[in-house]
Protein backbone atom coordinates (compact mmCIF):
# COMPACT_ATOMS: atom_id res chain seq x y z
CA UNK A 1 0.00 0.00 0.00
CA UNK A 2 2.87 2.38 0.81
CA UNK A 3 4.47 1.63 -2.57
CA UNK A 4 1.19 2.33 -4.33
CA UNK A 5 0.97 5.63 -2.48
CA UNK A 6 4.51 6.45 -3.52
CA UNK A 7 3.87 5.76 -7.24
CA UNK A 8 0.67 7.77 -7.13
CA UNK A 9 2.56 10.62 -5.54
CA UNK A 10 5.26 10.47 -8.24
CA UNK A 11 2.60 10.59 -10.96
CA UNK A 12 1.03 13.51 -9.15
CA UNK A 13 4.29 15.45 -9.14
CA UNK A 14 4.99 14.76 -12.80
CA UNK A 15 1.49 15.63 -14.08
CA UNK A 16 1.06 18.61 -11.81
CA UNK A 17 -1.74 20.12 -9.78
CA UNK A 18 -2.65 23.79 -9.68
CA UNK A 19 -3.29 23.83 -5.97
CA UNK A 20 0.05 22.21 -5.14
CA UNK A 21 1.97 24.56 -7.40
CA UNK A 22 0.23 27.55 -5.80
CA UNK A 23 1.23 26.27 -2.36
CA UNK A 24 4.77 25.72 -3.62
CA UNK A 25 4.98 29.24 -5.01
CA UNK A 26 3.76 30.74 -1.70
CA UNK A 27 6.36 28.63 0.14
CA UNK A 28 9.14 30.01 -2.03
CA UNK A 29 7.89 33.57 -1.57
CA UNK A 30 7.49 33.39 2.21
CA UNK A 31 10.70 31.50 2.97
CA UNK A 32 12.63 33.36 0.29
CA UNK A 33 11.65 36.80 1.56
CA UNK A 34 12.26 35.79 5.18
CA UNK A 35 15.72 34.54 4.24
CA UNK A 36 16.49 37.69 2.26
CA UNK A 37 15.49 39.94 5.16
CA UNK A 38 17.53 37.81 7.56
CA UNK A 39 20.53 37.99 5.23
CA UNK A 40 20.19 41.75 4.72
CA UNK A 41 20.21 42.36 8.48
CA UNK A 42 21.89 39.27 9.89
CA UNK A 43 24.93 38.97 7.60
CA UNK A 44 26.26 42.51 8.19
CA UNK A 45 25.50 42.22 11.88
CA UNK A 46 27.31 38.89 12.20
CA UNK A 47 30.30 40.27 10.30
CA UNK A 48 30.37 43.42 12.42
CA UNK A 49 30.16 41.34 15.60
CA UNK A 50 33.13 39.24 14.47
CA UNK A 51 35.28 42.23 13.53
CA UNK A 52 34.54 44.45 16.52
CA UNK A 53 35.66 44.13 20.12
CA UNK A 54 33.52 45.70 22.82
CA UNK A 55 32.41 44.95 26.39
CA UNK A 56 29.50 42.52 26.44
CA UNK A 57 30.37 40.92 23.11
CA UNK A 58 30.40 37.42 24.56
CA UNK A 59 27.04 37.99 26.22
CA UNK A 60 25.47 39.10 22.94
CA UNK A 61 26.95 36.13 21.14
CA UNK A 62 25.55 33.79 23.77
CA UNK A 63 22.07 35.09 22.93
CA UNK A 64 22.75 34.54 19.23
CA UNK A 65 23.80 30.95 19.94
CA UNK A 66 20.69 30.51 22.05
CA UNK A 67 18.54 31.88 19.22
CA UNK A 68 19.94 29.35 16.76
CA UNK A 69 18.10 26.61 18.59
CA UNK A 70 15.02 28.68 19.34
CA UNK A 71 11.85 26.57 18.99
CA UNK A 72 9.90 27.74 15.90
CA UNK A 73 6.59 27.32 17.68
CA UNK A 74 7.74 29.75 20.38
CA UNK A 75 8.75 32.21 17.67
CA UNK A 76 5.26 31.79 16.24
CA UNK A 77 3.73 32.40 19.64
CA UNK A 78 5.73 35.59 20.18
CA UNK A 79 4.73 36.95 16.76
CA UNK A 80 1.12 35.99 17.48
CA UNK A 81 1.18 37.96 20.72
CA UNK A 82 2.31 41.01 18.76
CA UNK A 83 -0.09 40.69 15.89
CA UNK A 84 -3.35 39.38 17.21
CA UNK A 85 -6.28 41.68 17.61
CA UNK A 86 -5.48 42.84 21.14
CA UNK A 87 -1.74 42.91 20.64
CA UNK A 88 0.41 46.02 20.21
CA UNK A 89 0.33 45.65 16.40
CA UNK A 90 -3.20 44.26 16.21
CA UNK A 91 -4.48 47.26 14.30
CA UNK A 92 -2.29 46.28 11.33
CA UNK A 93 -4.46 43.16 10.80
CA UNK A 94 -1.48 41.05 9.86
CA UNK A 95 -2.49 37.91 11.72
CA UNK A 96 -3.11 34.90 9.45
CA UNK A 97 -1.39 36.56 6.49
CA UNK A 98 1.78 35.68 4.57
CA UNK A 99 3.36 38.80 6.09
CA UNK A 100 2.94 37.34 9.57
CA UNK A 101 4.58 34.13 8.37
CA UNK A 102 7.49 36.11 6.91
CA UNK A 103 7.95 37.88 10.26
CA UNK A 104 7.95 34.60 12.17
CA UNK A 105 10.36 32.91 9.76
CA UNK A 106 12.65 35.94 9.84
CA UNK A 107 12.78 35.63 13.61
CA UNK A 108 13.81 31.99 13.21
CA UNK A 109 16.40 32.51 10.45
CA UNK A 110 18.06 35.66 11.80
CA UNK A 111 20.06 34.14 14.67
CA UNK A 112 21.19 31.28 12.42
CA UNK A 113 22.53 33.65 9.79
CA UNK A 114 24.16 35.91 12.39
CA UNK A 115 25.75 32.95 14.15
CA UNK A 116 27.05 31.29 11.00
CA UNK A 117 28.43 34.54 9.55
CA UNK A 118 30.14 35.32 12.86
CA UNK A 119 31.76 31.88 12.80
CA UNK A 120 32.71 32.25 9.13
CA UNK A 121 34.61 35.48 9.77
CA UNK A 122 36.19 34.20 12.98
CA UNK A 123 37.40 31.07 11.20
CA UNK A 124 39.57 33.15 8.85
CA UNK A 125 43.09 33.51 10.28
CA UNK A 126 43.01 36.84 12.19
CA UNK A 127 46.56 37.58 11.06
CA UNK A 128 45.30 37.89 7.49
CA UNK A 129 43.51 41.13 8.30
CA UNK A 130 46.68 42.51 9.91
CA UNK A 131 48.63 41.41 6.85
CA UNK A 132 46.26 43.37 4.61
CA UNK A 133 46.56 46.44 6.84
CA UNK A 134 50.35 46.14 6.84
CA UNK A 135 50.32 46.16 3.03
CA UNK A 136 48.54 49.50 3.04
CA UNK A 137 44.87 48.48 3.02
CA UNK A 138 42.32 50.92 4.38
CA UNK A 139 40.10 49.43 7.04
CA UNK A 140 37.20 48.84 4.63
CA UNK A 141 39.52 47.21 2.08
CA UNK A 142 40.86 44.80 4.68
CA UNK A 143 37.34 44.01 5.95
CA UNK A 144 36.03 43.45 2.41
CA UNK A 145 38.84 41.04 1.58
CA UNK A 146 38.21 39.21 4.82
CA UNK A 147 34.55 38.82 3.88
CA UNK A 148 35.63 37.43 0.50
CA UNK A 149 37.90 34.96 2.27
CA UNK A 150 34.96 33.86 4.39
CA UNK A 151 32.49 33.58 1.51
CA UNK A 152 32.19 29.79 1.80
CA UNK A 153 31.06 30.12 5.39
CA UNK A 154 28.80 33.08 4.62
CA UNK A 155 27.01 31.18 1.87
CA UNK A 156 26.67 28.28 4.29
CA UNK A 157 24.90 30.74 6.59
CA UNK A 158 22.38 31.54 3.86
CA UNK A 159 21.87 27.85 3.06
CA UNK A 160 21.35 27.04 6.73
CA UNK A 161 18.93 29.92 7.19
CA UNK A 162 16.80 29.02 4.18
CA UNK A 163 16.85 25.34 5.05
CA UNK A 164 15.59 26.01 8.58
CA UNK A 165 12.67 28.22 7.61
CA UNK A 166 11.52 26.27 4.56
CA UNK A 167 11.25 23.18 6.74
CA UNK A 168 9.55 24.66 9.76
CA UNK A 169 5.83 24.18 10.41
CA UNK A 170 5.05 25.34 13.96
CA UNK A 171 5.42 29.09 13.48
CA UNK A 172 3.78 29.06 10.04
CA UNK A 173 0.81 27.16 11.41
CA UNK A 174 0.42 29.47 14.40
CA UNK A 175 0.61 32.83 12.63
CA UNK A 176 -0.64 31.70 9.21
CA UNK A 177 -3.43 29.39 10.11
CA UNK A 178 -2.93 27.17 7.05
CA UNK A 179 -5.75 28.91 5.17
CA UNK A 180 -6.37 27.45 1.71
CA UNK A 181 -5.34 29.79 -1.05
CA UNK A 182 -3.93 32.36 1.40
CA UNK A 183 -1.44 31.06 3.94
CA UNK A 184 -1.12 27.34 3.14
CA UNK A 185 2.50 26.39 2.53
CA UNK A 186 4.05 23.02 1.76
CA UNK A 187 4.91 22.13 5.37
CA UNK A 188 1.52 23.05 6.82
CA UNK A 189 -0.24 21.33 3.88
CA UNK A 190 1.75 18.14 4.52
CA UNK A 191 0.74 18.08 8.19
CA UNK A 192 -2.88 18.65 7.21
CA UNK A 193 -2.96 15.87 4.55
CA UNK A 194 -1.37 13.37 6.96
CA UNK A 195 -4.02 14.32 9.51
CA UNK A 196 -6.69 13.55 6.89
CA UNK A 197 -5.10 10.25 5.94
CA UNK A 198 -4.26 11.40 2.37
CA UNK A 199 -0.79 9.90 2.27
CA UNK A 200 -0.42 10.12 -1.51
CA UNK A 201 -1.03 13.87 -1.38
CA UNK A 202 1.24 14.25 1.66
CA UNK A 203 4.03 12.39 -0.15
CA UNK A 204 3.57 14.46 -3.29
CA UNK A 205 3.69 17.72 -1.34
CA UNK A 206 6.79 16.52 0.55
CA UNK A 207 8.46 15.60 -2.75
CA UNK A 208 7.80 19.10 -4.08
CA UNK A 209 9.17 20.60 -0.85
CA UNK A 210 12.32 18.51 -1.13
CA UNK A 211 12.75 19.49 -4.78
CA UNK A 212 12.45 23.21 -4.00
CA UNK A 213 14.78 23.03 -1.05
CA UNK A 214 17.36 21.07 -3.03
CA UNK A 215 17.17 23.43 -6.00
CA UNK A 216 17.93 26.43 -3.83
CA UNK A 217 20.71 24.63 -2.00
CA UNK A 218 22.20 23.41 -5.29
CA UNK A 219 22.28 26.96 -6.64
CA UNK A 220 23.95 28.29 -3.50
CA UNK A 221 26.40 25.40 -3.47
CA UNK A 222 27.50 26.23 -7.00
CA UNK A 223 28.05 29.83 -5.91
CA UNK A 224 30.01 28.56 -2.95
CA UNK A 225 32.31 26.44 -5.07
CA UNK A 226 35.81 27.86 -5.57
CA UNK A 227 36.42 29.33 -8.98
CA UNK A 228 39.82 29.13 -10.55
CA UNK A 229 41.20 32.55 -11.34
CA UNK A 230 43.62 32.97 -14.20
CA UNK A 231 46.03 35.73 -15.06
CA UNK A 232 44.78 37.87 -17.91
Amino acid sequence: MEMQAFWEALQFVVTGNDEVWAIAWLTIQVSGIATLISVAIGLPFGIWLALTDFPGKKLIYSFINYGMGFPPVVAGLMISLLLWRYGPLGNLSLMYTPTAMILAQTMIAMPIIIGFSFTAIMSVNPLLRYQFLSLGAKKWQADWLLIKEARLGLLAAVIAGFGRVSAEVGASMMVGGNIKGQTRVLTTATVMEVGKGNYEMALAISAVLLMIAYSVVLLLTYLQHERKREIR
Binding site: Y130, Q131, L133, G136, L145
Partner: protein, 355 residues
Protein backbone atom coordinates in the same frame (compact mmCIF):
# COMPACT_ATOMS: atom_id res chain seq x y z
CA UNK B 1 74.46 62.44 6.70
CA UNK B 2 71.47 60.17 6.20
CA UNK B 3 68.29 61.29 7.90
CA UNK B 4 66.51 59.14 10.47
CA UNK B 5 63.32 57.67 8.99
CA UNK B 6 62.26 56.01 12.24
CA UNK B 7 62.51 57.46 15.72
CA UNK B 8 61.12 56.11 18.96
CA UNK B 9 60.95 58.04 22.21
CA UNK B 10 59.72 56.62 25.53
CA UNK B 11 57.78 53.95 23.71
CA UNK B 12 55.78 51.49 25.76
CA UNK B 13 53.51 48.66 24.64
CA UNK B 14 51.26 46.90 27.10
CA UNK B 15 49.37 43.68 26.56
CA UNK B 16 46.91 42.22 29.05
CA UNK B 17 48.30 44.45 31.78
CA UNK B 18 51.88 43.38 31.10
CA UNK B 19 54.57 45.60 29.65
CA UNK B 20 55.93 43.83 26.57
CA UNK B 21 58.02 46.60 25.04
CA UNK B 22 59.85 49.56 26.53
CA UNK B 23 62.15 51.55 24.25
CA UNK B 24 63.60 54.76 25.64
CA UNK B 25 65.23 56.00 22.45
CA UNK B 26 65.81 54.41 19.08
CA UNK B 27 66.61 55.68 15.59
CA UNK B 28 66.95 54.07 12.19
CA UNK B 29 68.55 55.89 9.29
CA UNK B 30 67.48 55.77 5.67
CA UNK B 31 69.08 52.83 3.89
CA UNK B 32 70.19 51.16 7.13
CA UNK B 33 69.99 47.39 7.40
CA UNK B 34 69.17 46.42 10.96
CA UNK B 35 68.82 42.98 12.53
CA UNK B 36 66.88 42.39 15.73
CA UNK B 37 67.92 39.36 17.75
CA UNK B 38 66.71 38.00 21.04
CA UNK B 39 65.23 34.92 22.64
CA UNK B 40 61.63 33.77 22.19
CA UNK B 41 59.09 36.16 23.66
CA UNK B 42 61.61 38.97 23.98
CA UNK B 43 59.42 41.45 22.09
CA UNK B 44 61.03 41.36 18.64
CA UNK B 45 57.82 40.79 16.67
CA UNK B 46 55.98 43.29 18.87
CA UNK B 47 58.66 45.84 17.93
CA UNK B 48 57.96 45.34 14.22
CA UNK B 49 54.19 45.35 14.68
CA UNK B 50 54.43 48.60 16.64
CA UNK B 51 56.55 50.25 13.95
CA UNK B 52 53.90 49.11 11.43
CA UNK B 53 51.17 50.75 13.49
CA UNK B 54 49.44 47.49 14.34
CA UNK B 55 49.87 47.77 18.11
CA UNK B 56 48.59 50.35 20.56
CA UNK B 57 51.41 52.17 22.25
CA UNK B 58 52.24 55.10 24.48
CA UNK B 59 55.13 57.40 23.75
CA UNK B 60 56.16 58.69 20.37
CA UNK B 61 56.96 57.08 17.04
CA UNK B 62 58.09 59.26 14.15
CA UNK B 63 58.15 57.74 10.68
CA UNK B 64 59.41 59.60 7.63
CA UNK B 65 59.31 62.81 9.62
CA UNK B 66 55.69 62.36 10.71
CA UNK B 67 54.45 61.46 14.18
CA UNK B 68 52.32 58.31 14.07
CA UNK B 69 48.73 58.93 15.11
CA UNK B 70 45.44 57.09 14.55
CA UNK B 71 44.48 59.15 11.50
CA UNK B 72 47.72 58.72 9.54
CA UNK B 73 48.55 55.06 10.14
CA UNK B 74 47.30 53.89 6.75
CA UNK B 75 49.26 56.62 4.96
CA UNK B 76 52.43 55.71 6.86
CA UNK B 77 51.87 51.98 6.31
CA UNK B 78 51.79 52.61 2.57
CA UNK B 79 55.40 53.69 2.79
CA UNK B 80 56.31 50.42 4.54
CA UNK B 81 55.78 46.72 4.01
CA UNK B 82 55.84 43.90 6.48
CA UNK B 83 56.40 40.17 6.11
CA UNK B 84 54.93 38.31 9.05
CA UNK B 85 56.49 35.33 10.76
CA UNK B 86 53.55 33.22 9.65
CA UNK B 87 53.04 33.67 5.91
CA UNK B 88 49.36 33.94 5.16
CA UNK B 89 48.30 34.40 1.58
CA UNK B 90 44.77 35.27 0.54
CA UNK B 91 42.92 32.90 -1.78
CA UNK B 92 43.27 33.41 -5.50
CA UNK B 93 46.16 33.18 -7.92
CA UNK B 94 49.72 33.89 -6.91
CA UNK B 95 49.77 36.84 -9.31
CA UNK B 96 46.78 38.41 -7.54
CA UNK B 97 48.37 37.71 -4.16
CA UNK B 98 51.63 39.42 -5.04
CA UNK B 99 49.85 42.44 -6.48
CA UNK B 100 47.42 42.92 -3.57
CA UNK B 101 49.29 45.88 -2.10
CA UNK B 102 49.05 47.72 -5.41
CA UNK B 103 45.34 46.82 -5.62
CA UNK B 104 44.84 48.62 -2.31
CA UNK B 105 46.51 51.66 -3.87
CA UNK B 106 44.01 51.41 -6.77
CA UNK B 107 46.65 51.00 -9.42
CA UNK B 108 45.47 49.87 -12.88
CA UNK B 109 45.40 46.12 -13.47
CA UNK B 110 47.75 46.24 -16.44
CA UNK B 111 50.37 48.14 -14.41
CA UNK B 112 49.97 45.73 -11.51
CA UNK B 113 50.57 42.77 -13.82
CA UNK B 114 53.74 44.37 -15.18
CA UNK B 115 55.10 44.95 -11.69
CA UNK B 116 54.12 41.43 -10.61
CA UNK B 117 56.05 39.97 -13.54
CA UNK B 118 59.07 42.12 -12.73
CA UNK B 119 59.33 41.38 -9.00
CA UNK B 120 58.57 37.68 -9.43
CA UNK B 121 61.34 37.43 -12.06
CA UNK B 122 63.84 39.06 -9.71
CA UNK B 123 62.87 36.68 -6.90
CA UNK B 124 62.68 33.71 -9.29
CA UNK B 125 59.09 32.78 -8.55
CA UNK B 126 57.47 33.79 -11.84
CA UNK B 127 56.81 30.12 -12.60
CA UNK B 128 54.27 30.17 -9.75
CA UNK B 129 52.16 33.10 -10.97
CA UNK B 130 49.29 31.07 -12.40
CA UNK B 131 49.10 28.68 -9.44
CA UNK B 132 46.52 29.08 -6.70
CA UNK B 133 47.98 30.36 -3.43
CA UNK B 134 46.62 27.46 -1.42
CA UNK B 135 48.61 24.95 -3.49
CA UNK B 136 52.05 26.36 -2.56
CA UNK B 137 54.58 24.74 -0.24
CA UNK B 138 55.75 26.56 2.89
CA UNK B 139 58.94 27.76 1.23
CA UNK B 140 57.10 28.94 -1.88
CA UNK B 141 54.63 30.85 0.29
CA UNK B 142 57.44 32.65 2.05
CA UNK B 143 58.97 33.72 -1.26
CA UNK B 144 55.62 34.97 -2.47
CA UNK B 145 55.16 36.80 0.83
CA UNK B 146 58.46 38.58 0.28
CA UNK B 147 57.53 39.42 -3.32
CA UNK B 148 54.21 40.80 -2.08
CA UNK B 149 56.04 43.07 0.34
CA UNK B 150 58.64 44.29 -2.16
CA UNK B 151 56.30 45.09 -5.04
CA UNK B 152 55.13 48.34 -3.44
CA UNK B 153 58.75 49.60 -3.26
CA UNK B 154 58.57 50.41 0.44
CA UNK B 155 60.92 52.89 2.05
CA UNK B 156 60.99 50.66 5.12
CA UNK B 157 60.79 46.88 4.91
CA UNK B 158 59.94 44.92 8.05
CA UNK B 159 60.84 41.23 7.96
CA UNK B 160 59.77 38.93 10.78
CA UNK B 161 61.78 35.71 10.33
CA UNK B 162 60.98 35.60 6.63
CA UNK B 163 63.42 32.85 5.68
CA UNK B 164 62.53 30.17 8.23
CA UNK B 165 60.91 27.79 5.72
CA UNK B 166 63.50 28.28 2.97
CA UNK B 167 66.32 25.88 2.29
CA UNK B 168 69.87 27.14 2.77
CA UNK B 169 70.54 27.87 -0.89
CA UNK B 170 67.33 29.85 -1.38
CA UNK B 171 67.82 31.59 1.96
CA UNK B 172 71.27 32.84 0.96
CA UNK B 173 69.93 33.89 -2.41
CA UNK B 174 67.08 35.86 -0.85
CA UNK B 175 69.39 37.57 1.63
CA UNK B 176 71.69 38.63 -1.21
CA UNK B 177 68.81 39.82 -3.38
CA UNK B 178 67.09 41.80 -0.65
CA UNK B 179 70.35 43.43 0.35
CA UNK B 180 70.96 44.38 -3.28
CA UNK B 181 67.44 45.79 -3.67
CA UNK B 182 67.75 47.68 -0.39
CA UNK B 183 71.05 49.25 -1.40
CA UNK B 184 69.79 50.15 -4.86
CA UNK B 185 66.53 51.69 -3.63
CA UNK B 186 67.99 53.22 -0.41
CA UNK B 187 65.43 51.11 1.44
CA UNK B 188 65.78 50.61 5.18
CA UNK B 189 65.22 47.09 6.39
CA UNK B 190 64.57 45.68 9.85
CA UNK B 191 65.05 41.92 10.00
CA UNK B 192 63.98 39.86 13.00
CA UNK B 193 65.88 36.61 13.14
CA UNK B 194 66.75 33.77 15.48
CA UNK B 195 69.68 32.81 13.30
CA UNK B 196 72.65 35.00 14.13
CA UNK B 197 74.35 33.87 10.93
CA UNK B 198 71.54 35.62 9.03
CA UNK B 199 72.13 38.76 11.04
CA UNK B 200 75.81 38.62 10.18
CA UNK B 201 75.14 38.04 6.49
CA UNK B 202 72.43 40.65 6.13
CA UNK B 203 72.76 43.55 8.52
CA UNK B 204 75.16 46.37 9.21
CA UNK B 205 73.74 46.95 12.65
CA UNK B 206 72.01 44.75 15.21
CA UNK B 207 70.02 45.36 18.35
CA UNK B 208 69.37 42.78 21.02
CA UNK B 209 65.97 42.86 22.71
CA UNK B 210 65.42 41.12 26.04
CA UNK B 211 62.21 41.37 28.04
CA UNK B 212 61.06 44.19 25.80
CA UNK B 213 64.16 46.36 26.19
CA UNK B 214 67.15 47.02 23.96
CA UNK B 215 70.15 45.63 25.83
CA UNK B 216 72.78 46.00 23.12
CA UNK B 217 73.09 48.04 19.93
CA UNK B 218 76.17 47.46 17.77
CA UNK B 219 77.37 45.76 14.61
CA UNK B 220 76.57 42.03 14.39
CA UNK B 221 80.27 41.19 14.43
CA UNK B 222 80.84 43.16 17.61
CA UNK B 223 77.84 41.57 19.32
CA UNK B 224 79.00 38.11 18.30
CA UNK B 225 82.32 38.54 20.05
CA UNK B 226 81.18 40.91 22.81
CA UNK B 227 77.73 39.82 23.92
CA UNK B 228 76.40 41.84 26.84
CA UNK B 229 75.24 38.86 28.90
CA UNK B 230 75.24 35.08 29.04
CA UNK B 231 71.82 34.71 27.41
CA UNK B 232 73.00 36.62 24.39
CA UNK B 233 76.34 34.80 24.38
CA UNK B 234 74.51 31.49 24.00
CA UNK B 235 72.16 33.01 21.43
CA UNK B 236 75.05 34.04 19.16
CA UNK B 237 76.55 30.57 19.47
CA UNK B 238 79.35 30.98 22.01
CA UNK B 239 79.76 27.55 23.55
CA UNK B 240 82.67 28.09 25.92
CA UNK B 241 81.25 30.16 28.76
CA UNK B 242 83.19 29.50 31.95
CA UNK B 243 82.63 30.79 35.45
CA UNK B 244 85.51 33.00 36.51
CA UNK B 245 86.80 35.40 39.14
CA UNK B 246 88.60 38.62 38.55
CA UNK B 247 91.91 39.05 40.35
CA UNK B 248 93.19 42.57 40.82
CA UNK B 249 96.80 43.02 41.89
CA UNK B 250 98.17 46.56 41.96
CA UNK B 251 97.54 47.72 38.38
CA UNK B 252 97.24 44.35 36.75
CA UNK B 253 94.23 42.17 36.21
CA UNK B 254 93.91 38.45 35.80
CA UNK B 255 91.00 36.13 35.22
CA UNK B 256 90.96 32.91 37.20
CA UNK B 257 88.86 30.30 35.44
CA UNK B 258 86.85 27.64 37.23
CA UNK B 259 89.52 25.07 36.29
CA UNK B 260 92.19 27.05 38.13
CA UNK B 261 93.92 28.53 35.07
CA UNK B 262 94.88 32.19 35.52
CA UNK B 263 94.84 34.34 32.40
CA UNK B 264 96.30 37.85 32.26
CA UNK B 265 93.64 40.35 31.19
CA UNK B 266 94.16 43.91 30.01
CA UNK B 267 90.95 45.40 28.57
CA UNK B 268 88.82 45.59 31.69
CA UNK B 269 85.71 47.76 31.29
CA UNK B 270 83.88 46.65 34.44
CA UNK B 271 84.80 44.77 37.63
CA UNK B 272 81.49 42.97 38.22
CA UNK B 273 82.10 39.93 36.04
CA UNK B 274 81.33 36.29 36.63
CA UNK B 275 81.70 34.58 33.26
CA UNK B 276 84.45 34.35 30.68
CA UNK B 277 83.69 33.68 27.01
CA UNK B 278 86.42 31.85 25.17
CA UNK B 279 86.23 31.92 21.37
CA UNK B 280 86.14 28.57 19.63
CA UNK B 281 88.69 29.49 16.97
CA UNK B 282 91.84 29.46 19.08
CA UNK B 283 95.10 28.22 17.67
CA UNK B 284 96.77 24.84 17.59
CA UNK B 285 100.55 24.92 17.60
CA UNK B 286 101.08 22.69 14.64
CA UNK B 287 104.67 23.64 14.09
CA UNK B 288 107.45 25.97 15.22
CA UNK B 289 106.45 28.67 12.72
CA UNK B 290 103.04 28.98 14.30
CA UNK B 291 104.56 29.00 17.76
CA UNK B 292 106.71 31.96 16.82
CA UNK B 293 103.82 33.67 15.04
CA UNK B 294 101.58 33.47 18.11
CA UNK B 295 104.28 33.69 20.74
CA UNK B 296 102.39 36.32 22.76
CA UNK B 297 99.30 34.13 23.02
CA UNK B 298 98.54 32.17 26.18
CA UNK B 299 99.79 28.58 25.77
CA UNK B 300 98.22 25.59 27.42
CA UNK B 301 98.09 21.83 26.98
CA UNK B 302 94.85 19.87 26.78
CA UNK B 303 93.71 16.37 25.87
CA UNK B 304 91.58 15.82 22.82
CA UNK B 305 88.46 13.85 23.89
CA UNK B 306 86.36 13.82 20.77
CA UNK B 307 86.63 14.82 17.12
CA UNK B 308 83.47 15.33 15.05
CA UNK B 309 83.11 16.63 11.51
CA UNK B 310 81.44 20.04 11.30
CA UNK B 311 80.36 22.33 8.50
CA UNK B 312 83.71 23.94 7.79
CA UNK B 313 86.09 21.39 9.27
CA UNK B 314 86.14 19.68 12.63
CA UNK B 315 84.72 20.21 16.08
CA UNK B 316 87.00 19.20 18.93
CA UNK B 317 86.05 18.60 22.51
CA UNK B 318 89.12 19.02 24.69
CA UNK B 319 89.79 18.52 28.37
CA UNK B 320 91.76 21.38 29.86
CA UNK B 321 92.41 20.71 33.55
CA UNK B 322 89.02 18.96 33.80
CA UNK B 323 87.30 21.81 31.97
CA UNK B 324 85.68 20.82 28.67
CA UNK B 325 85.95 23.25 25.79
CA UNK B 326 84.53 23.03 22.25
CA UNK B 327 86.81 24.26 19.50
CA UNK B 328 86.64 24.41 15.73
CA UNK B 329 89.43 23.80 13.25
CA UNK B 330 89.73 23.76 9.51
CA UNK B 331 90.15 20.52 7.57
CA UNK B 332 93.80 21.40 6.90
CA UNK B 333 94.61 20.94 10.61
CA UNK B 334 93.23 17.38 10.71
CA UNK B 335 96.64 15.76 10.98
CA UNK B 336 97.51 17.81 14.06
CA UNK B 337 95.21 16.04 16.44
CA UNK B 338 93.83 12.65 17.42
CA UNK B 339 91.61 11.41 20.22
CA UNK B 340 93.32 11.00 23.62
CA UNK B 341 96.31 12.94 22.33
CA UNK B 342 97.80 15.80 24.36
CA UNK B 343 97.97 18.86 22.18
CA UNK B 344 99.49 22.30 22.63
CA UNK B 345 96.99 25.13 22.19
CA UNK B 346 97.30 28.89 22.35
CA UNK B 347 94.66 31.36 23.37
CA UNK B 348 94.51 34.94 22.07
CA UNK B 349 93.88 36.83 25.32
CA UNK B 350 92.62 39.87 23.39
CA UNK B 351 89.65 37.73 22.24
CA UNK B 352 88.53 36.87 25.77
CA UNK B 353 85.24 38.48 26.68
CA UNK B 354 84.06 38.90 30.26
CA UNK B 355 80.39 39.21 31.20
Amino acid sequence: MKEAILKMDHLQVQREGRQVLQIDHFQLKRGELLAIVGSNGAGKSTFLQTVNGLQKFSGKISLFGETMQDDNRTRLRRRMSMVFQETILQSGSVAETIGIGLTFREMKKIEILEKVEKVSTVLRCNHLLKRQSNTLSGGEKQRIGIARALITKPELLLLDEPFAALDLRIRREMITKIRAIAQKEAMSVILVTHDFAEALAFADRAIVIEQGKIVQDASPQYIMYHPVNEVLARLVGIENILSCQLQIQENTYAVQLQNGAVLPYKNLSKEAVSKCCIPADICIFANEIEKQKHGDWFPFVATCNEIRPSKNGYELTIDWQKQQLKLYFSRQKKECFAVNQEIEFALNLAELHLI
